[in-house]
């Protein structure tokens, strides 16, 4: 590589700050809409999540007002169904997940010694998708068409015959829209933790919070696709009458439950683990000693992540599953308590061996211990099948889930809020309000939800809008409602406290809590670029002397302590050792994420109102928009080595083998692969378990199916040829050949689908259509990859030394070929599998 280096004349700290800020800051006024900076987007995520939390809280208060007395007539059953469905949906999808994403987006680069996340524009796109999707869901309440089938949308209640309006469609499309945001964030967080760290920060030096977020993000990558698939299938059933969950046509309502809880149970741990990361960060700070059991905690969280995927059926213990399967899931539900306990004992040991200081965040840590441990204990009770059968769908379960979710997420979150809010505002908390706010929340919460254990044990079922006065539930419900209003007053005080902090809090400069993590090594409020120079880490990154490190970094004594051609630069490292590997050049502010999210929102709204061709039109615009994104940020292909400071020269990300975009594609394909595996699971499940099999008409793939199979076999060969041709000269010919193959495959699959029996007749046919449609859709996206690459080749941005787009394209082509081949074989194999059924059903 040639050295091209116009960098780096040392500057004064003030001048360096001004130059970096000019490059990194987001605009003011209307330009705020183009912001992509992680500090700005992280704060927006958290603020928006808090607004949705307040909305969810108002819904909860309305529910408690209705249930305060027997035979109340405050709201009728239709409205009540919408209120509790929306309360659950808002709290899970619009508050908890976006809040943890916002916290991670704001904190991780600061904690890991980077200037931003890996894909700033994707961060912004994710935020806008979340905001628009959430607005669609919540806005539906004002039109009286809010989702009303519960936050879990069980079929057949949510199927067309029983929910004929658009209530369920709003949930399915709105939540899927929000999930796009969550999956984007998950991939970005994963890659950012693995690659965007300060040099020297090897895996064993990473702060525990980063380990927690890495495991959480990977769980999201494989945990969310089953729900996305389930939503797509149910929407196909509702919109086009293609049966997947209809038992009269070879579907099964229980398939929805399996897919939903395959997402839904890991979701509980996806919410809990970041909160546990907050606890693991705060306790060493306030105990004044390093955490005990760093490695044991990493083992515990990885074990917890895996085990959480083996529990989903414990939400379905009463549906009639074979005893042995029940026993597997019951045992797994009990075993998962062990890694949770490992963390709790590590935290208690750290406190016991330290000199704990009971500041306001520690009050919430105390609240977390009490509430979460109680929720965990009732969780072990519910893991036992005989008890579960008794308590199922009763208020005992409502009490348990609130103890787990509020104890395991809201209390740690409030601890984190009081701990990091001064970092956001640059001001200290007004303690006179903080302490009574905590006690109102703690007492109000326990009064509300502890009593629900009793109402549940006395037989009160969930989701009833009123109850008779003769069962003795009145006084418990009244006290629960009173507790709910006390809890609300506590949250109102916290909100007041935060507003007062912005206005009247005492200012401080750096490291309020005497912490040892990097985010406190910067002045507060943080600068747009985080660090004037990037540190070299030589100790574990939760036990650093940030008071010494901070001024050195501000003076530009670390890596990249200069500006260069107005570019936004940060360092990427080797994943395991933390050795500096390359310089990542990041894109700056742009309206493209907002425009793309608006177009995606238009596509969602068009589908909601049944304008499917209009939706397709907007989807095409979104796809073209993404090509524009890629083309709008070209980087010269022949930059060569660049000065990184401290005597180090590194190549830019376009000229290395494993930059973040390549890794992000790998993780995105893992996510996509989980969705495809869930689709295969659904096909096999309906074949094996659903009633009304075998179908009257069998799908027999003709020659078009076999030719499409041959086309898919050619795809990876051409993908490799493209990269080799680029090294030797020009990749245009193999790119053109692959485009021809893709077009042929799409046409052949369309022919095969057209030749099938009516897809509304049976789940066997509808599933075959979706499997082949999946292959065709991926071939279409493959064409977009080719179009993007051709434009870049013609513009001179793809050359033999810089062929990142081609290598990313190869990943996509390989994946498309693999899943396409499996999909066709699955359709080809189904007639034989149906034949096997004939003897037993």
């Amino acid at each position: 590589m040639k050295a091209s280096d116009e960098a780096a004349v040392p500057k004064s700290a003030i001048r360096l700050h001004k130059e970096l800020d000019r490059i990194w800051r987001s605009g003011r006024g209307f330009k705020r809409l183009s912001a992509v900076n992680h500090t700005v987007i992280g704060k927006r995520f958290m603020l928006t999540a808090m607004v949705f939390f307040a909305i969810g809280g108002v819904l909860a208060m309305t529910l408690r007002a209705q249930l305060a007395t027997s035979q109340a007539a405050f709201v009728g059953p239709e409205i009540y169904n919408q209120l509790f469905s929306l309360h659950g949906t808002v709290m899970m999808f619009l508050f908890a997940i976006p809040m943890l994403e916002g916290l991670a987006i704001y904190l991780l680069p600061k904690m890991l010694g980077a200037r931003d996340l890996a894909f700033p524009r994707i961060t912004a796109f994710g935020y806008w998708c979340y905001l628009f999707g959430g607005t669609i869901i919540v806005g539906s309440l004002f039109f009286g068409v809010a989702p009303d089938s519960g936050w879990f949308m069980y079929t057949p209640l949510s199927s067309k015959p029983y929910t004929p309006g658009i209530n369920a469609d709003i949930w399915l499309l709105g939540v899927t829209f929000v999930e796009i945001s969550a999956v984007c964030a998950a991939v970005e967080i994963t890659v950012s933790i693995l690659k965007f760290r300060a040099p020297g920060m090897s895996l064993e030096k990473m702060p525990l919070f980063a380990w927690y977020m890495l495991v959480t993000a990977l769980m999201m990558v494989v945990g969310f696709p089953p729900l996305i698939l389930a939503s797509i299938l149910l929407e196909l059933e509702r919109a086009f009458d293609m049966p997947f969950f209809d038992p009269e046509r070879g579907g099964d309502p229980l398939l929805w439950q399996h897919l939903f809880w395959l997402f839904g149970h890991p979701e509980v741990y996806i919410i809990f683990l970041p909160a546990a990361g907050v606890i693991s960060t705060l306790i060493p700070v306030f105990a004044r000693r390093p955490i005990i059991g760093y490695r044991a905690i990493i083992i515990a969280i990885v074990a917890l992540a895996f085990l959480s995927f083996g529990l989903w059926v414990h939400h379905m213990f009463t549906v009639g599953i074979p005893h042995l399967a029940l026993a597997f899931f019951s045992a797994a539900s009990a075993v998962v308590a062990i890694p949770t306990a490992v963390q709790i004992f590590a935290w208690l040991a750290t406190l016991a061996h330290g000199r704990p200081q009971f500041a306001v965040p520690m009050l919430y840590v105390f609240g977390f211990f009490v509430v979460f441990v109680m929720g965990g204990l009732t969780g072990v009770m519910l893991a036992m099948v005989p008890f579960n059968w008794q308590a199922h769908d009763s208020y005992f379960v409502v009490a348990h889930l609130h103890y787990v979710l509020v104890g395991g997420f809201v209390f740690p979150l409030l601890a984190g809020l009081y701990y990091w809010m001064p970092h956001v505002t640059g001001r200290e908390t007004v303690h006179r309000i903080s302490v009574p706010a905590f006690w109102l929340i703690f007492v109000g919460f326990n009064l509300t939800f502890f009593l629900m254990h009793l109402t549940g044990l006395m037989g009160m079922p969930r989701r009833i809008y009123t109850y008779p006065g003769a069962f003795g539930w009145d006084w418990l419900n009244l006290l629960s409602s009173v507790g709910g209003f006390i809890l609300t007053m506590g949250f109102a005080l916290v909100a007041t406290d935060m507003i007062l902090q912005f206005r009247f809090g005492k200012q401080f400069r750096r490291n309020l809590w005497k912490a040892g993590t990097l985010e406190w090594a910067m002045p507060t409020r943080p600068a747009s670029y985080n660090f004037a120079s990037i540190p070299h880490i030589e100790a574990r990154a939760d036990d650093l002397d940030v008071n010494v490190l901070g001024p050195e970094l501000a003076a530009g004594k670390g890596y990249l302590g200069f500006t260069r051609e107005g570019r936004m630069e940060t360092l990427a490292v080797d994943m395991t050792t933390g050795r500096a590997e390359h310089i990542a050049l990041l894109p700056n502010s742009s309206y493209l994420p907002l425009v793309s999210a608006i177009l995606t929102g238009c596509a969602v709204l068009s589908m909601l109102f049944g304008f499917y061709w209009v939706a397709l039109f907007f989807a095409v615009l979104v796809a073209l928009g993404f090509i524009w994104w890629s083309q709008a940020t070209p980087i010269r292909p022949d930059i060569g080595l660049l000065d990184a400071g401290r005597g180090l020269s590194l190549p830019p990300h376009t000229e290395v083998d494993g930059p973040v975009s390549w890794w992000a594609t790998v993780f995105a394909l893992v996510c996509n692969g989980t969705l495809f595996s869930s689709l295969l699971f659904g096909s096999i499940y309906n074949w094996l378990v659903a009633p009304n099999w075998p179908p009257a008409q069998i799908v027999e793939l003709g020659l078009s199916g076999y030719f499409a199979l041959a086309g898919f076999v050619l795809v990876p060969v051409l993908g490799r040829l493209i990269v080799r041709s680029n090294i030797a000269g020009s990749p245009l010919v193999p790119l053109g050949a692959l485009a021809v193959v893709y077009c042929a495959v799409i046409a052949l699959l369309a022919l095969a689908i057209a030749a099938m029996p009516d897809p509304t007749s049976h789940a066997h046919v509808s599933t075959s259509v979706v499997l082949l449609g999946y292959g065709a859709l991926h071939a279409v996206i493959g064409l977009l990859f080719i179009a993007n690459a051709v434009i870049k080749v013609l513009r001179g941005f793809i050359v033999p030394g810089a062929q990142l787009e081609l290598r990313i394209g190869k990943l996509w082509h390989d994946y498309t070929a693999l899943t396409g081949i499996i999909a066709i074989i699955a359709v080809l194999a189904m007639p034989a599998m149906i034949g096997m059924l004939a003897g037993v059903r």
Binding site: S202, L203, E204, R295, A296, I298, I299, V302, A303, F306, L307, F309, G310, G320, I321, P322, H323, L324, A325, A327, F328, S330, A331, A332, V335, P339, D574, M575, T576, T577, R579, E581, G658, L688, V689, M836, V840
Partner: protein
């Protein structure tokens, strides 16, 4: 060219290997139980098949545990290499996966196969 990393990124797979085997065991036994019940396999046959699969996965985890243990011991004593965190986690998580497999699938020995 920059020198290769002393700890290649694929070594991070050590962290997940043990629990991937646990996941496999869980899915294989759950799926086989479902197929056996749907096709009306005799109870004795189904239990023997499941016990065989259960033992196979425990054996696989034992072999993996032994391999990760020796890897960790070898790397722990090599002062020229970076700290062997991945090897430590690899062994620890394989041991945890062995325990999880034994506990979660133990009902195969006792519980009725297909009664709903």
């Amino acid at each position: 060219m920059k020198p290769a990393s002393p700890v290649p990124s694929h070594r991070m797979l050590l962290i997940v290997l043990g629990f991937v085997v646990w996941s496999l065991a869980f899915v294989v036994l759950y799926g086989t139980n479902a197929i056996g019940c749907a096709f009306g396999w005799p109870e004795g046959l189904q239990r023997n098949v499941l016990l065989g699969l259960f033992a196979l996965h425990l054996l696989a985890l034992s072999a993996l545990g032994s391999w990760t243990w020796h890897r960790w011991r070898a790397r722990r004593d090599d002062s020229t290499q970076p700290a062997p965190l991945l090897e430590y986690l690899g062994f620890g998580l394989t041991a945890a996966a062995f325990g999880a497999t034994a506990l979660t699938l133990l009902p195969t020995v006792l519980v009725t196969m297909c009664a709903p």
